[in-house]
Symmetry: C2
Subunit: 468 residues, 2 copies
């Protein structure tokens, strides 16, 4: 401080343009700082990426995304259907992450899953096992799967099976547990584990039987309706859940189960406004997997967080992850919790934004601001801004408040770099300690670093001879 004063021979006054880090540091030392909102010009890399071959590849990727017809066809134990699953595999959300780097709620979910799988009898034993190297940790996304929040998926858990009828590929996701104390938020109390066992014994098999009997549920159509009913299908799934329930309820009612179990199945579903969330995520995954792997395409096909890092994958860049540190959501907290309790951003649920839903569709979901904060005008603004960084507009998902304009769909790495506008994401907020659960919901962005790294990788690809 003395050095600073000495440097200028007077009290320091600073104008800070852009990155708040400097302003915050000086401000904390009592220096008067005027802040100017400024973003650096687009990275030099992006200038090399405006090429016809990328445009053509993006048209192909976007066409595949738009043509997808995700249908919920079955519910089966993960071990039976998820490719590469083993009894000692634990899938997690986001990019690859060893036990040593896992945040509190992800560790909590690992502990809960090991208790559930009866691989450990106590939380302490579970932690030792997790650290022992005897288990396989792997991203859901490496197994055509997606998991909300911690995303921990293990062998016995029943998973939703969504088939993209256009291309035949399938995707998988666990069943949603409801809000609050849930494994995906890092809770592992006995009631959390008991609910998972009921999923395994009753709910999963019942839903599977119903879905096989009715030949599946058209999820694109269901989401299209829900988007006209105030859902954005990430943090607000009230309409989609009700529509899914009314579709399956007649068949659940006819199942050959004790009346109390039929009632419990529908009571659980009706009591969980996010019953649909994991279905929607799997549908988005099935659609985006079909759009992945178009050589030279700069379209983002995965955005996912593991509570430590944020990672993206890009259609034309194979299986590589481009990562940066996960941010912490800004939002509204349940009574008794605050920002100091929040874990950094986590979960594969940003697959909804990647497919043109979630915060990208928020203009159609103004009531969500009561859950994530802000005003209906903000919700409209988020969607409008996302048109700046997307390749097209959804044919299926149309927003009444924007005169039935399709949702902004297909994030272009180039447009993110060119505009400096980051994708907007709605998300739940987990407590940073294991064993507690959800404490709120809010908004978050990916780090720009993911897109910068992907941009450089695309530029490097272009320097190589085309495989097409």
């Amino acid at each position: 401080m003395t050095a600073e004063v000495g440097l200028f021979g007077a009290e320091l006054r600073v104008v800070n343009a852009g990155v708040d880090l400097f302003a915050d540091a000086l401000g904390s030392r009592g220096v008067e700082v005027s802040r100017v909102d400024w973003r650096p010009p687009a990275s030099p890399t992006v200038a090399t990426l405006w090429r016809d071959e990328i445009d053509a590849a993006n048209r192909e990727a976007l066409q595949r995304l738009g043509a997808a017809q995700p249908v919920l066809v079955d519910v089966r134990p993960a071990l039976e259907v998820v490719p590469g699953m083993t009894p000692t595999t634990l899938l997690h959300a986001g990019p690859p992450l060893p036990w040593a780097r896992m945040s509190g709620p992800v560790r909590g979910a690992v502990i809960g899953a090991l208790l559930y799988e009866r691989l450990a009898d106590t939380p302490e034993e579970a932690e030792r096992l997790a650290a022992s190297g005897a288990l396989t940790f792997d991203p859901c996304h490496h197994h055509a799967a997606v998991g909300p929040m911690a995303g921990i998926t293990t062998a016995r858990m029943p998973v939703l099976v969504v088939e993209n009828r256009t291309t035949g590929n399938r995707s998988y996701a666990t069943l949603n547990e409801g809000l609050g104390k849930a494994l995906r938020y890092g809770a592992f109390a006995p009631d959390v584990i008991e609910r998972l066992r009921w999923f395994e014994a009753i709910l999963g098999p019942a839903l599977g039987e119903v879905l096989r009997r009715i030949g599946g549920v058209d999820i694109r159509n269901l989401i299209a309706q829900a988007v006209q009913m105030g859902d954005e299908c990430h943090n607000r799934n009230r309409a989609a859940s009700a529509l899914l329930i009314k579709t399956i309820a007649p068949h659940v009612a006819a199942l050959d189960l004790p009346p109390a179990e039929r009632e419990r199945i529908l009571t659980f579903a009706a009591g969980n406004d996010h019953f649909f969330l994991n279905v929607g995520m799997a549908a988005c995954k099935a659609a985006l997997d079909a759009a992945h792997g178009v050589p030279r395409s700069s379209m983002v096909t995965v955005m996912a967080r593991n509570g430590t890092e944020f990672g993206i994958r890009v259609s034309g860049l194979g299986d590589r992850w481009f990562t940066g540190p996960a941010g912490t959501p800004v939002g509204l907290y349940f009574a008794g919790f605050g920002a100091e309790d929040a874990n950094p951003d986590m979960g594969d649920s940003a697959i909804t934004e990647t497919a043109g839903l979630g915060a990208f569709a928020m203009a159609g979901a103004p009531a969500i601001v009561q859950f994530v904060g802000g005003t209906p005008a903000d919700a409209l603004g988020y969607t409008k801004r996302m048109y700046e960084i997307t390749l097209g507009e959804s044919e299926a998902y149309r927003l009444p408040p924007l005169d039935f304009r399709g949702t902004p769909t297909g994030i272009d790495v180039r447009l993110v770099l060119q505009t400096g506008i980051l994708p907007q994401i709605n998300t739940g907020i987990a407590h940073r300690r294991p064993g507690i659960g959800q404490i709120g919901a809010g908004l978050v962005n990916p780090p720009l670093a993911c897109f910068e790294e992907a941009g450089r990788a695309l530029a490097a690809e272009l320097a190589r001879p085309s495989q097409a």
Copy 2:
């Protein structure tokens, strides 16, 4: 035409201010007419109605409307629960209407109801009976009931029972049959009658058992949610229906019925996006009945149409109806039908607008324009205009696109007369011939005459000594 030219000694050119009748007549004779949108100044009557005693009475009426807590508590045969019901009573929508003046679809519904009640074996026999004077025709509204479209309600039909928990009064409405070929639209084919018999034998008793078991469903809360999910609860009930289904489904699933009947009940409900309509109407009726009968109040408590006349009732004007000719809705038609097929406006369903829903809540239901015509901007405009003629804003029903402003609630006869703005109503459109059914949906207004007559009656009341 010669006389006109002779009058001015030259070709006639006319500026027409206001009433289109003159302009239309001249225009049809080839005279050039410039039209000016003009409305006559408020009727002289209204000037005498801006009195503190009316304001105070309206505050009381509006408070009673807002305080209502409608709960769906039961389903029972009409004969058991509807006050004054007899085996030969036929309740109908709107103001009183003898058989001789009934329009085609109302006659069709009467024929269907007589076949259903086994009071006649053929349509011809039913018509003879209807004309014989041996039956009692009476408005639903004279029996604390409401009926959509023709509104025909007879003894054996199961009716929804809604209780206003604040005041204890009850209201009644039949079960909704779905769109298209339905008794309420004047259809009476064998499948229409068979469905009513299934209502009587299975659906009604099952819903009644469920509702008694769970102690009722809070309809105010349910509508509040639905209004945030794109319903206006008159012509769009998709969210409300899904929410009601998810509430009752667990208990239907546990009923001691054959599995196929449990399945059929929920399949029927899930296949009818207007499953909730009649429930919502009964809830509005229960709330408005509590607000009726406040001496000197100019608040409208009933708007209803019988396919021939439009009628209103006013809180401070007792059981009198103020009527005028029913208009014909302007809207969208199902394939194969057009405006020339449309019957004049009918049904008690404008009870929703009277309670601050329907077209009054259209700002929250932009997707409805795909059903009734217009644009989302029109939907916003209808709601905004209704604030000009209403006494307050709903505490319970809040519109996200208007920053959670409450819906315009409590139509004031004085404000209608003062502004010349007529209440906006969403409605279904019936074919004008008996036996066909619904052919479209659209928008309509009451005739100004109802409000003028009510205004004169209020002025006459004020001239008498107060009873309060």
